[in-house]
């Protein structure tokens, strides 16, 4: 077995054509993660009754679940039950009309929400208690305090963890091959199903992911540095 550059190039091209799918598989979860993650973090920090413990339990359970297992279970449930549920709710959609990429998106979104919620909650607690009291003392409302004082201070703390989470989501998106969604990894191995040049395919896929995650890390480091500069100027 030796490395074949032609096969590698083919795999790289094939993998790249599926890049939009990987983007879809990571972009939507990251978006959901930010929206609901921050919302849930606020709910937990302010100990909103009923919802707060509910979210806490959900996070512990869902974070305990490996992605593969979640995917396999969700997929099976979807295949077996979606039509029955859909017809009982008379939604008028059948399972066939839904691209199974959505199962991957749902699984990864829930994961992103849990991770980002935890990251932001940790960052919330890192902001000095006095900041909250001081903001209220000058007459800001609770919401104003959160938006104008707490959030700007916690963002720089949360950012490195959020970067890690985003990189994690990008990498995890490759696991959806287990339920037959074609994205970069599966895409890169398509030429290999004919030529049996899987090693070249895997290396090509690794390269695409590597560049993708490196870009994300670079971008966020720039944002982080800018944020820090801004903070120093303030201080």
């Amino acid at each position: 077995m030796e490395f074949n550059a032609v096969y590698f190039w083919e795999s790289l091209q094939s993998g790249l054509t599926y890049l939009p799918r990987t983007m879809e598989l990571t972009g939507i979860p990251i978006l959901c993660g930010f929206v609901f993650g921050i919302l849930f973090a606020v709910v937990r920090v302010y100990k909103v009754s009923f919802f707060s413990p509910l979210i806490a339990v959900f996070v512990v359970i869902y974070q305990g679940l490996p992605t593969v297992v979640a995917l396999l279970i969700f997929n099976l449930m979807f295949m077996a039950n979606f039509n029955a549920v859909s017809s009982s709710l008379s939604l008028g959609i059948t399972a066939a009309q839904i691209d199974n990429i959505w199962i991957g998106i749902v699984v990864l979104s829930l994961q992103a929400i849990c991770n980002i919620e935890e990251a932001f909650r940790g960052a919330f607690y890192s902001v000095d208690n006095g900041q909250h009291a001081a903001a209220l003392s000058v007459g800001l409302t609770e919401v104003q305090t959160l938006r104008r004082i707490i959030l700007p201070q916690m963002l720089p703390v949360a950012l490195p963890m959020v970067t890690n989470n985003i990189v994690g989501i990008i990498k995890n998106s490759s696991i959806v091959v287990a339920i037959g969604i074609t994205e970069v990894l599966a895409g890169a191995s398509i030429p290999a199903s004919k030529t049996y040049s899987f090693l070249e395919s895997y290396i090509a896929a690794a390269l695409i992911y590597w560049v993708l995650t490196a870009c994300v890390e670079y971008t966020f480091r720039r944002i982080e540095l800018r944020g820090r500069k801004y903070r120093r100027q303030l201080a």
């Binding site: 512990v60 974070q63 690794a206």
Partner: protein, 229 residues
């Protein structure tokens, strides 16, 4: 015809448990090898990153970046097929090694990269005064590291190490994709022979959730126990 009845039954769930549990040691074995070799490798890399010659640095950074930036699944596959080629060049015939050995190596290499970053940042966060004080009472640099700096660094690294440990534990569930029969692989093969995988997957889900919660508790306990403030 109800979908749920067809695909899930409690009796099968109960039947599956004794068939799955004997494969838990395979999963734990991967975790054990990865953690022990990973801690060793991570420590060496962290020390090299801090004290090593400049020409090491780009290679180490590249290695860490690759391990952190590419999916574990791809890394397993690359080690499985790529490592024998590399070793062949060194005159070692690795092709006939057991699959599980490659899984150990893949996870250890990955863990080494992640842990090296955790160790590095925690070593750097031990105040330099600690090293200086140790040198001033006559300890050698190595003694100072071993007795003063590292114990404090380990203490600082503990929470991140806990998170990483749980992630590793979850990561092992990918080994089945190359046909290793760990507990996940067993669930899949059970699915093939009994035609019902859902019950097995659910049991594994439950097992992982409980184990993760216990691990979290354990690290929380350790964190409090080892505190010297």
């Amino acid at each position: 015809m109800n979908g749920v009845g067809e695909f899930f039954s409690w009796s099968r769930f109960v039947d599956d448990i004794p068939r799955l549990l004997p494969y838990l040691p395979v999963t734990l074995g991967i975790v054990a090898y990865a953690i022990i070799l990973g801690v060793f490798l991570g420590m060496v890399i962290a020390l090299l990153r801090i004290h090593g010659q400049w020409f090491f640095q780009p290679f180490l950074r590249l290695y860490i970046s690759f391990m952190r930036g590419t999916p574990m699944l791809v890394q397993i596959l690359i080690v499985f097929y790529g490592l024998p080629i590399v070793l062949q060049a060194l005159g070692i015939e690795a092709n006939r090694w057991d699959k599980i050995v490659f899984v150990y190596i893949a996870f250890a290499l990955n863990e080494g990269a992640f842990l090296s970053e955790i160790f590095r940042s925690s070593i750097l966060s031990v105040p330099t005064g600690q090293m200086e004080a140790a040198l001033s009472v006559g300890l050698t640099r190595w003694q100072a590291y071993r007795r003063i700096v590292l114990p404090q660094a380990i203490r600082i690294a503990l929470p991140s190490f806990g998170t990483d440990f749980i992630a590793l534990f979850h990561g092992t569930s990918l080994a089945f994709l190359i046909g290793v029969v760990d507990i996940m692989g067993r669930a899949k093969t059970l699915g093939a022979s009994t035609k019902h995988a859902l019950e097995a997957y659910l049991f594994i889900a439950l097992l992982f959730i409980v184990a993760s919660a216990l691990l979290r508790l354990l690290f929380h306990f350790l964190d409090r126990k080892l505190s010297y403030t």
